[in-house]
């Protein structure tokens, strides 16, 4: 029996309707009774979700836009809290940042590595120890002391991935980030991710590219209408999903 590292037990997550609030006090007060009522209305994304992910698993999440794939990841990362139910995450979890998004443009590559590394959970000493490795992996030796606003988007992606790749994660959450950078670097990222799998790192993977999911993942979950439509071996879930997509496009 494999160890469970992430477990969701009857988890429900909904968002409040913030439109009136986010457009400010002015609009909130001008639309007063309606705005308050509107804000109380909840919008359910995930309803009564129960499943587990085991240690060392490569786990895929698929489904149409807006079914809550990213919400599910954010719940695993602890960035969002569920309304109801229990989530248990037993190991150190890292979310792969939208590559380079956490960087500050005016800081140099090196300064951003320290900032990002510490934000993601390393101490400064640990980051400094790995600095050379991180820079080498990103292939940015000649640019590392330049402000990152001078970097191309591919360079940013390389740097961002390289920081996360050196965190020694126990659980890695990947949200649609492998589609950046040049093909060669994508291959390098994939190789690194497969290395993580060899080492027994648990990986949770969200992608629109179902082919990637069926090739890479051991198991997958298909989210539909706020619920789990199917869970099981990745290729089975993916083919069920593809059949569903075909049927629904026929019926239109």
């Amino acid at each position: 029996m494999k160890n469970t590292v992430i477990s969701f037990e009857r988890v429900t997550k909904s968002y409040l309707s913030y439109e009136y609030i986010l457009s400010g006090f002015k609009s909130f007060l001008l639309n007063f009774p309606r705005s308050l009522k509107h804000t109380r209305k909840k919008f359910t994304v995930l309803k009564d979700i129960t499943f587990s992910i085991y240690e060392g698993e490569f786990f895929g999440i698929i489904g149409k836009n807006g079914v809550g794939k990213s919400t599910l990841l954010a719940l695993m990362a602890g960035v969002l809290k569920p309304d109801e139910g229990k989530i248990e995450v037993k190991k150190k979890v890292y979310m792969l940042l939208e590559l380079g998004a956490g960087f500050h443009p005016d800081l140099t590559g090196r300064e951003n590595i320290i900032l990002n590394g510490v934000l993601l959970g390393m101490t400064k000493k640990e980051v400094l120890k790995k600095m050379d490795e991180i820079v080498a992996f990103a292939e940015l030796e000649n640019f590392i002391d330049q402000p990152v606003r001078t970097y191309s988007s591919g360079m940013l992606a390389r740097l961002g991935f390289s920081v996360v790749a050196h965190l020694e994660p126990e659980i890695l959450l990947i949200d649609e980030v492998l589609a950046v950078g040049d093909v060669q670097f994508q291959k390098k990222c994939l190789k690194k991710i497969l290395e993580f799998r060899e080492k027994g790192v648990t990986i949770v993977f969200v992608s629109h590219n179902v082919k990637d999911v069926s090739e890479l993942c051991d198991r997958a979950i298909w989210l539909h209408n706020n619920q789990i439509q199917a869970i099981g071996p990745a290729h089975e879930v993916v083919s069920a999903y593809l059949r569903f997509l075909e049927n629904s496009s026929f019926s239109q």
Binding site: L22, L80, L107
Partner: protein
């Protein structure tokens, strides 16, 4: 132990980020940021000395001693209340204590205030008002009181500004009002005695007055200190509660 080490590192890198971004790694950044309070002092000096004919001794130095601490407060409140918005990607992607984000902005301005102390001392030297011993004995207390007031207010404003995005404008108006309600460009003795008790409600009242007593008179008013510290602690606890209550929802609205 490692957790503590980690939190110290986190505060350090976040604060250093703010400082580096402000100074853009160059010495002119420093001059730009002392230029602002100094030019304000110059404007008020002309307006009140030559036009309104205020009778305050060493008025230029008097202004500087109030304006520099005020800058720390007002810059922190403005930058701090938008700090969560400015760090949206981090909040959405990384699970770490969010308290550190506004903390870094307040510490950035605190650092800047400390870095501008030599400028105040230089003017003290020019006006022959140099109270080294008093300054260094009461500096930590004043820093503590101002930090608690400022951070407390920022903890309260930052999450609300995340939900109601137009709060920022109200904060700017509020800061202008507070500026004139605090004895920065006028002396405490100008306040009508029957209104003075209302001025006590302003935590900056005792704080700024004490900065000036330290820099100009070489004295310290314990009553003012206790008053501003107590009000600061109240604000801090209130701000902390609001922040804590709303922080699980931050990632949802960004």
């Amino acid at each position: 132990m490692t957790a503590l080490r980690y939190y110290i590192d986190l505060i350090e890198v976040l604060t250093l980020k703010e400082i580096k971004v402000r100074y853009k790694n160059n010495i002119f950044g420093y001059f730009w940021s002392i230029l602002h309070p100094l030019s304000l002092a110059l404007v008020f000096y002309f307006a009140f000395k030559f036009i309104m004919k205020f009778q305050i001794e060493n008025f230029a130095y008097f202004l500087i001693c109030g304006l520099f601490p005020w800058q720390w407060f007002s810059n922190s409140v403005l930058a701090g209340s938008t700090s969560l918005l400015a760090n949206a990607t981090l909040i959405k992607k990384v699970n770490f204590p969010k308290f550190f984000i506004p903390l870094a902005t307040v510490l950035n301005d605190a650092f800047h205030f400390l870095a501008s102390l030599p400028v105040i001392l230089f003017f003290g030297f020019l006006f022959n008002k140099f109270h080294f011993l008093v300054l260094f004995s009461f500096l930590p207390l004043q820093l503590l009181a101002q930090f608690i007031i400022t951070y407390g207010l920022v903890l309260f404003l930052a999450p609300i500004n995340l939900f109601f995005r137009d709060l920022e404008r109200l904060i700017q108006i509020g800061l202008t009002i507070l500026f004139y309600l605090t004895p920065i460009i006028y002396d405490v003795s100008f306040i009508p005695p029957n209104l003075k008790v209302f001025f006590y409600l302003n935590p900056l009242f005792g704080l700024i007055e004490n900065w000036r007593l330290i820099f100009i008179e070489g004295s310290f008013n314990w009553f003012y200190f206790e008053l501003s510290l107590l009000e600061g602690i109240l604000i801090f606890f209130f701000g902390f509660k609001v922040f804590k209550k709303l922080s699980p929802r931050f990632a949802e609205v960004l």
